[in-house]
Each structure stands twice: as structure tokens, then as C-alpha cells.
């Protein structure tokens, strides 16, 4: 059995392991330091044959890199992902639907818009809106303090799921809802 697993490891190094065998092998590797050591040695053998001489990594090197990276899932510059080789590989089933980035963003945006609409009783349907002169708008009514408090609580609870723009929009509504600010006017070419 061990030989079979190590043979899979050898094939993985060569890029010859079928993808459907990879998942189980990865889980075994995470639990078995001897398997990881063997993988490192297999790589060293190839490296020595192709380019003998020069420095090699200390046995603890990979563990030090792993410790330096830390436990946090900190892939921060995420703009896109590597394209799957042949067939699209679905996300693991344990990644719940709501955790997927696009779904999370959509949920956060919908919730934020709903919150703004709910807590601004003066919002007029789009069809009834009139364009006011000089790009000004007025708030004729303010939410109650209890409503403001609920909105602030909502902001705190959901800010991690919303984009900066959505947060800014909701925050603007919150500020506008302050009883001390009943009218905001903005004239083109004039400082607010």
C-alpha cells in the first residue's frame, strides 16, 4: 500500500498522475511527513541529475517556508486564478455556495441596497423622480434614532461582505439620516 502511494507521488512529480488520484494523495501528504520528505528527495534526485553541483536546500527549508507563510489563507493579490488544465474542476463541495466570492459580493450588494431602501422612507420610485435644479436633493424626513441605530448595526455586521463602494453608499445614507443634517445641497463648481 505504501509503495502504491509512493509510486503515485513519483508520478505526481513527473506530472503523470491522473487528476482523480490527486485529491486523496494530497490529503495523505498533509498528514504524512515521510511522504513529503520522499517527494523532496525525488525532486532532489532529478535536480542532481540535471544540474549537479551548487547549493541544495537544507532539510528544514520547506518547513521554514511553510512557517513563514503562516496559517492564514493570505493569497492577497487575487485577480484571477490559473485556468484548469483540461476540464473545469468544480470547487470542493465543502465550500458552501455563499462563501464563493461572486455570490458573496452579490448578496452583500443586494442586502446593502435593501437596507438603504428600507431605512430611507423618502425614497421615491424612479419613475416619479424629478430632476431638481443645480444637482441638489433634499431629505424631507429623517429616520428615527432607532432606525439609525439598526442601520449602524447592520453596517458593522455586514461590512466584511461588502465592497468599499457599497460601504460608502450606505455610510452616506447613515450620515444623511443624522437629525442634524436634514438638507444637503451641492452646486456645480461650488465646494460642498
Amino acid at each position: 500500500m505504501t509503495d502504491q502511494i509512493r509510486e503515485q507521488l513519483s508520478a505526481l512529480l513527473d506530472g503523470e498522475l491522473p487528476r482523480d488520484e490527486m485529491g486523496l494523495l494530497m490529503r495523505r501528504l498533509e498528514k504524512d511527513p515521510e511522504l513529503r520528505r520522499a517527494f523532496g528527495t525525488y525532486a532532489l534526485i532529478g535536480e542532481t541529475l540535471r544540474a549537479p553541483g551548487g547549493r541544495i536546500a537544507a532539510p528544514s527549508f520547506a518547513a521554514r517556508v511553510s512557517a513563514a507563510i503562516g496559517e492564514a489563507p493570505a493569497i492577497v493579490e487575487k485577480t484571477s486564478t490559473a485556468r484548469p488544465p483540461a476540464a473545469t474542476v468544480p470547487l470542493p463541495q465543502h465550500v458552501a455556495l455563499w462563501k464563493r466570492p461572486i455570490v458573496r459580493t452579490a448578496l452583500a450588494a443586494s442586502a446593502a441596497v435593501t437596507a438603504v431602501l428600507l431605512f430611507r422612507p423618502d425614497v421615491t420610485p424612479v419613475a416619479q423622480l424629478e430632476v431638481t435644479p443645480a444637482n441638489s436633493f433634499a431629505m424631507s424626513a429623517s429616520p428615527t434614532p432607532a432606525q439609525s441605530q439598526r442601520l449602524a448595526g447592520y453596517m458593522v455586521a455586514h461590512s466584511q461582505f461588502s465592497t468599499p463602494m457599497v460601504r460608502r453608499n450606505v455610510l452616506s445614507s447613515l450620515l444623511a439620516a443624522d437629525p442634524g443634517i436634514t438638507r444637503v445641497s451641492y452646486e456645480m463648481g461650488q465646494a460642498p
Partner: protein, 205 residues
């Protein structure tokens, strides 16, 4: 077909290896940390050799290589798979080494150095002739042990491992060359590695 790029040379890269690396990258991008650990294990020696040859003080090679791997991990989300993973990692390692040299010369570079293709080829060419005197007795001992172990292998295992590691052939190509099934090739290469691993173990433990 993708053209070969700096960093591809002597990497033993072929389509299967690149695809396998991409699969590991994809898993790492989904925060499967074990996948990135395997990429470190796979390329650690190559990256350390690379930066050791670039640095004026090769004793810092491991620190700089470690920094390069950490940078690669943090930037993994931007890796789209347009080039081989090792080609991408190679660029990060070269940039990290150059930044390290610059910072020691009190001329810190806070930006990533973009190497033109000719610059990268120059670096690659220089590395071939600029082997560091820091090549340790251990690595020489490893080289000897690997060669001796290969010499003692049965011919079918020796041929399989040489065709794979030195010639860079795929299992299918080796199977054709040796006139045997692909599964037999896989088994022969594994058994060759196991024999060499046993010979190396006393040195590496």
C-alpha cells in the same frame, strides 16, 4: 505550442509537468496549503541554486529563496497560468535576489524589476558559467551517491530514470522507446527513485 522561456532550461519541464504544477497552483489558490508546500518541495533546490549564483554572498541564498517563495505564495492569486509555474517563480526569485543585492548596496529597489527577455537570457547564460564556490561538500557527496546508485540499478530502471530525468521524456514517450506499457514505465521510475532515495537517506537524515 508554447515557446521555451528563461527558467525552462534544464527544468525537466514537459506538458505533463506543467499541467500538474497548474493543478497544484489551482488547489493552492483555493487555500489548499499542502499544494503549495509540494511546489516548494519540488522547486526548493532549483530556486536556492539560482539565487545562490546570483547573490554575492551565497550564504544568504536560503533566506532570499524563502522570501521568494513567500512572495510567490502571496502573489499566487495573480498567476493565470499563461506561463509555466516555474517560469513565473523563476522571475520572482531573480527579482528578489536583485532586490536583495540592491538593498545591501544601500540602493533599495521597492519595485519589482522587469527583466527584458535578453536580460533574462543573460542571467541564465551567466548562471551556467558562474558556479558558486559555496557548492558544499554535501552537495558533492549527494552527486556522487546519486551517480553511484544509478550505476548500480538494473538496466531497465536506469534507462527509465535517465530518459525521464535527463532527457525529459514523458511516460508515453519512454514506453514507446522501451517498448513496454506506460504502467511499467511508471513503476520502473518509481523503483529507481526508491533505490536512490535509500542510498541518499543516510546523507540527508
Amino acid at each position: 505550442m508554447k515557446s521555451r522561456e528563461p527558467g525552462d532550461e534544464d527544468a525537466g519541464l514537459h506538458a505533463g509537468t506543467e499541467q500538474s504544477d497548474l493543478e497544484l497552483v489551482r488547489r493552492a489558490q483555493q487555500n489548499e496549503r499542502g499544494a503549495f508546500d509540494l511546489l516548494v518541495l519540488k522547486y526548493q533546490h532549483k530556486v536556492i541554486k539560482l539565487v545562490a549564483r546570483l547573490l554575492r554572498d551565497p550564504t544568504e541564498a536560503e533566506d532570499v529563496a524563502q522570501e521568494a517563495f513567500v512572495k510567490a505564495y502571496r502573489a499566487l492569486g495573480s498567476f493565470r497560468g499563461d506561463s509555466a509555474f516555474y517560469t513565473w517563480l523563476y522571475r520572482i526569485a531573480v527579482n528578489t535576489a536583485r532586490n536583495s543585492i540592491a538593498s545591501r548596496q544601500r540602493r533599495p529597489l521597492d519595485y519589482e524589476v522587469e527583466l527584458s527577455e535578453s536580460e533574462q537570457n543573460n542571467v541564465a547564460a551567466r548562471l551556467k558559467h558562474d558556479d558558486t564556490p559555496e557548492a558544499t561538500a554535501l552537495s558533492e557527496e549527494i552527486r556522487q551517491t546519486v551517480n553511484e546508485a544509478i550505476g548500480q540499478l538494473p538496466e531497465d530502471l536506469r534507462t527509465a530514470i535517465v530518459l525521464r530525468e535527463i532527457e525529459g521524456l514523458s511516460y508515453e514517450e519512454i514506453a514507446t522507446a522501451m517498448d513496454c506499457p506506460v504502467g511499467t514505465v511508471r513503476s520502473r521510475i518509481f523503483r529507481a527513485r526508491e533505490a536512490i532515495d535509500r542510498a541518499l537517506k543516510p546523507l540527508l537524515d
